[in-house]
Symmetry: C2
């Protein structure tokens, strides 16, 4: 048994590049998570439930929730949310890395540019949400990270700032504008490259992978249940660098 399988948070370690990479990967490749909110009308009782997750182009997690659900009513009354990502998987549940992100939840205004961008990205990541994504009682919330706590396994505990989980680049907007076209183009004309990315950089088995997202920091690859995050060495600073970055990953 390794040290990690205890619940003992050893001394907090300095947040190095590897911890940042792990934390970003945990949140950016999560299909679902557990969200804790402040239960309405109960004087501050916490309440935790399961939600599907998306990621906005600036790295903020996104949820799609019904007005009929408790978490939606809760977040409309109190924006404070805590998000847990990182599934326990096989073996000791505490041996698997997980990340708690303390967030400020902001509802996304329908018919805004942000809504349309978030909707397209969410839909590619969760194609089955098509059946309800446009229901009038459904809303997106952006969960802006304020701070986070990473339990990286093997006794590795780290504290992160909200900014550590943000995607920062002057090219975010320009890339968001061309994202849908670029994703379609890659899937229809460069399926070999998409498969190479999953196989070579994400250690995945070959076959069936599709690109479902593309932003200034990297790519989202999906096959059925599986979701992989692949980041460039550094965020792109101009949308014109995209082609070169995709080529380099295929090199």
């Amino acid at each position: 048994m390794s040290e990690t399988e205890t619940d003992r948070p050893s001394v907090i370690r300095p947040t190095d590049a590897e911890a940042l990479r792990l934390a970003r990967n945990l949140v950016r490749s999560a299909r679902s998570g557990a969200i804790a909110v402040v239960e309405p009308e109960s004087g501050g009782f916490p309440s935790v439930s399961r939600v599907l997750l998306g990621i906005d182009v600036d790295g903020a997690p996104v949820i799609l929730v019904s007005a009929l659900s408790l978490h939606t009513r809760a977040l409309r009354a109190d924006r404070r949310a805590s998000l847990l990502v990182g599934e326990p998987g096989k073996g000791d549940p505490l041996a698997h890395p997980r990340l708690t992100v303390q967030c400020d939840a902001e509802e996304v205004v329908r018919d805004s540019a942000a809504h349309s961008r978030i909707r397209a990205r969410f839909l590619r990541r969760h194609p089955k949400s098509q059946l309800y994504i446009d229901f009038p009682d459904f809303s997106f919330f952006r969960l802006k990270p304020l701070r986070a706590s990473l339990n990286g396994g093997f006794g590795k505990a780290y504290l992160l700032a909200g900014e550590d989980l943000a995607i920062v680049s002057p090219a975010i907007e320009a890339l968001a504008e061309r994202e849908s076209r670029a994703v379609d183009h890659m899937n229809s004309d460069h399926a070999d490259a998409v498969d190479f990315y999953a196989r070579t950089h994400c250690g995945a088995e070959s076959g069936g992978w599709a690109l479902v997202g593309l932003d200034a920091a990297g790519l989202d690859l999906a096959r059925g249940d599986a979701l992989k995050r692949l980041e460039y060495d550094a965020p792109l600073t101009d949308a014109s660098e995209l082609r070169g970055a995709l080529k380099k990953l295929y090199g």
Copy 2:
């Protein structure tokens, strides 16, 4: 796609026997869960993290946590906790049933009879916890269910009372006293029955199953990562009924 895969909580259904069974099974067979607490010194921010779970003889979930961890400090300051059980598994994460239990967390006094009972049950369920279960900074908390909310998949939403998750019987104490011996006896002398229980009643593959718990309402069966809950038709009302109940399940 089924209705369940939406996040739409349909009208709350009346809590029938099937919903009760599902809810009890979710919490009693969970190896880990997400616990939300009220973060100390932050004015009521929720915070959610992953914990290993046990179950006490009255059905109350149990956690083993370090004094160094945030959730322990939180629960010592504010006993309100929310527990989410039911892992997303394969396919759509929202298609899997899950249960949110609102709890009152009570720290278990070390060297009490309750501590020794809870420790023995937890250790059988999580053998690897042996390495830290007796560390001086580790404590058990009992999470007494106050109310719960079941999302049973297929658009089935139910509200439960805390008592719905309780194991109630006059035989609880007498059974607890003989539990360890009875479990050892079953595993060493009746491994065939234990395997039969897992195979026949829990739909599990044959081989490698051990009994890890036994209480007035049923049995806990484990093999590696897997944990199965098997309940009698009705809770035993006297410890002398145990042998007959075990025989009947083998019939």
